[in-house]
Amino acid sequence: MSEKRGSLLAGLALGGAIALLSLAGPFLYRADPYAIHPAYALRGPSLAFPLGTDELGRNGLALLLAGGQATLIVSLPAALLAFCSGLGYGLLTGLGAGWLDKILMRLLDVFLALPSLVVLIFFAALVPLNNVSLVLLLGFLSWPALARLVRNEVVAQRGRDFILAAEQSGAGRFYIARVHIMRMIAPVLVVNATFLVGDTIFSLSALSFLGLGVQPPHVSWGSSLQSALDIIALAPWWLIIPPGLMIFGSLLAASLAGQGLVRREGAR
């Protein structure tokens, strides 16, 4: 038992630390992340700048914290949005009539095969890029995978005896979904919710490769990593490793928590 709970606790602890660092950080470490210091451009870590400076001489640590804040306030709500729409779509497909299931599944296959890049550029051009639209954009990217999972799980549960018995006593489709289905697919949902958080953080960071993520001068972990990549020949490791580790840390926290939950739920 300890090994299962261990990874769950480790995941939550790591995730909590990162969230705390990013959300509270900017208030604790007072430096202005966007102040440009031409004289100190591209310097390694020093006392004045614990995490060095970027090519415009901005404070690396302050950027990292501001980046964390920008990343989390967008990716967490996006994960929630993706979770709800994926769950809704999955339930609708799983419980709906046969023909509805066929159509929605066909549509789902299309979404899963659709290169997210095309969709991104389309929406990014039409919708003014602010935190809200980013949440919608990211939410849109991650829900299909969860939808398919929920649908398959619902279809697997739909034929079970205790559901037939409930229907025999006059249970309607919504009662079945609310009382029986939700409880049975709860473990799958919980586990994938944690992985979803990891996915949205990763997608936001990938977005900055397109210049579509957080807009300058604001930064997200992904955009700092990306701008560091442009000058990789100068080996600015202090610009690459911290944001990379923060993204890695949040993804690790999500999968650790997810892993712990899988074993705990799976064990029943």
Binding site: I36, E55, F209, Q215, D230, L234
Partner: protein, 534 residues
């Protein structure tokens, strides 16, 4: 402003054949992109012009100082008996690569093809071509007579207009329809006849364009047997490639300039800036940013922006400030006041603040200036994924913050920015973009009311008159008056232009003369000395 001319060419040590020369497109101009067309009439991008320039010798070769180098031109002389309305061009004996002589008929054919292409012609309207020409005729094989619809400033027409009539192999191309010519623009086989130094051998999509010396080329012989334009699409990779021996030259991204200097063996050549500038286009047509229409606001913007800091930070010191619509290098067309460095605008935060106060802007609660309810705030659109532009924008944002102007920055795909700029005046507030100029820096396409490239609704009768004078009256008086007035008007906020440096592999020389900031290459200037691993 003495400009470093780069290393003096090495003494004529014992030269050796260079074998293959491999360089990326866009040397000295910007991040290279694939060559997609070899037809000089259809090349909208500078990189395509470089490739086409290798195959066809221009009617008039314009050198680094914007003077015609008759040594390298097909025309041996251009005269204008009535000082601006009619022109006589004498051609030099010259041969096509299949031995046929280059005649005036080839020049006339080029003109007819431009007329046939109409708006599809890449430089339509530049230097008045083609509509300004009333008639063009070839009294004999070596002479072309051009009559214009109205007398114009000869320098303007010759440098910007006449120079476009690159002779084309009429005896080969005439068999094809305009559409077929359009369709074959990227097929090397179609360009087997050329009169330039090189002929195209292959255009491998996404990889390179390979050229071989034109056996019947009239100019000096090449010092190499193969000339390859290699499409590296990320600047970071190019430095690596030069060191690894994959490339002979490459642009040095500004951030990596320091590192490039220490690379063993290879050496750095810093080039004069290309004939262009960066500009922040304030959109006066957009109701949301009506305040740009007030010249004092535009002047305040120009005064608030510290161009020297931009050069120091974003361009690592390799750039020149620009305050008027004539790039300061070469100083051929600089007005006396500009040449003396006296511009009506310049980095002066206090002046900017007084100008804004005079314009009636008072600081709001959040410190941002506002006038009868409208905050002095706007969003600057910049092309996505270009580190240089991002850094310029971030530096400007800080500067404007000091004088109480709030500027947000947003990255957008380049073609979407252009679409908004050209077609949707209400969809954008300000745009940061580069602008390249023709040999004669007149502004008829840029700032006169309703001009093709005037997208921010700027219109000023005095500006129109001065521009007209610079293109229609002979002499440079018009040009000088126009540039001084434009510096005062700041129809777009002029920003510094970067000076690219090129990393050159050990043993390769003549780079300075080979690269011409106006984009035309002189491959015969390149030569090699021993010690160059081939």
């Amino acid at each position: 402003m003495a400009l470093l001319l780069g290393a003096a060419p090495a003494a004529f040590a014992e030269t050796q054949d260079c074998g293959s020369i491999v360089i990326p497109p866009g040397l000295g101009i910007g991040p290279g992109a694939d060559v997609t067309s070899l037809n000089p009439l259809l090349t909208s991008s500078l990189y395509n012009q470089e490739a086409a320039g290798l195959i066809f010798t221009p009617l008039l070769w314009i050198n680094r100082f914007h003077q015609i180098d008759y040594e390298r031109s097909i025309a041996s002389a251009v005269t204008t008996p009535d000082n601006g309305k009619t022109y006589d061009v004498t051609l030099r004996p010259w041969k096509w690569s299949d031995g046929t002589a280059v005649t005036s008929a080839d020049v006339l054919y080029a003109y007819q093809l431009i007329k046939a292409l109409g708006q599809s012609y890449a430089a339509y309207g530049q230097g008045g071509i083609p509509d300004i020409i009333a008639s063009i005729s070839a009294p004999d094989a070596a002479h072309v007579h051009v009559a214009l619809t109205r007398p114009v400033n000869p320098q303007w027409f010759i440098l910007n207009g006449l120079s476009q009539l690159t002779p084309l192999p009429q005896h080969v191309w005439a068999h094809y329809s305009t559409n077929e010519i359009w369709q074959a623009q990227s097929d090397p086989a179609f360009f087997h006849v050329g009169d330039g130094p090189l002929l195209p051998q292959a255009l491998n999509i996404g990889i390179d364009a390979v050229f071989v010396p034109n056996p019947l080329y009239g100019g000096t012989k090449m010092h190499f047997s193969r000339f390859v334009m290699r499409f590296e699409s990320a600047e970071g990779q190019e430095l690596q490639a030069v060191q690894a021996g994959d490339l002979d030259m490459s642009n040095i991204p500004f951030d990596l300039y320091g590192k490039a200097l220490q690379l063993p063996g290879d050496y750095v050549v810093t080039l004069p800036p290309s004939y262009s500038w960066h500009e922040l286009i304030p959109n006066m047509a957009n109701k949301a940013t009506g305040f740009f229409a007030d010249v004092r606001v535009r002047q305040a913007l120009a005064d608030a922006i510290d161009q020297k800091r931009i050069i120091a930070l974003a361009m690592h010191g390799l750039g020149i400030p620009v305050y008027n619509p004539v790039p300061p290098y070469p100083d051929t067309f600089l007005s006396p006041t500009a040449r003396a460095g006296q511009y009506p605008v310049g980095y002066d935060v206090a002046k900017a603040k007084t100008l804004l106060a005079a314009a009636g802007f008072l600081p709001g609660a959040d410190g941002i200036l506002q006038k009868d309810g409208q905050r002095l705030a706007f969003t600057l659109l910049i092309p996505a994924g270009q580190p240089l532009r991002i850094e310029i924008a971030e530096s400007i944002q800080q500067d404007l913050q000091q004088v109480g102007i709030a500027m947000k920055v947003r990255q957008m795909e380049f073609n979407q920015i252009l679409a908004a700029m050209v077609g949707q005046p209400q969809a954008w507030e300000a745009i940061l973009i580069g602008m390249n100029l023709g040999a004669y820096p007149s502004g008829e396409e840029l700032f006169s009311a309703g001009a093709a490239l005037n997208n921010n609704g700027y219109a000023n009768p005095k500006m129109d008159a001065l521009i007209k004078q610079s293109t229609d009256q002979p002499g440079l008086g018009g040009l000088f008056a126009y540039q001084d007035f434009a510096s005062e008007e700041q129809p777009v906020i002029f920003l510094p232009n970067e000076r690219y440096s090129v990393l050159v592999r050990k043993g390769l020389h003549g780079v300075q003369d080979f690269l011409n900031p106006l984009g035309a290459w002189a491959p015969e200037k390149l030569y090699c000395t021993p010690g160059r691993a081939n």
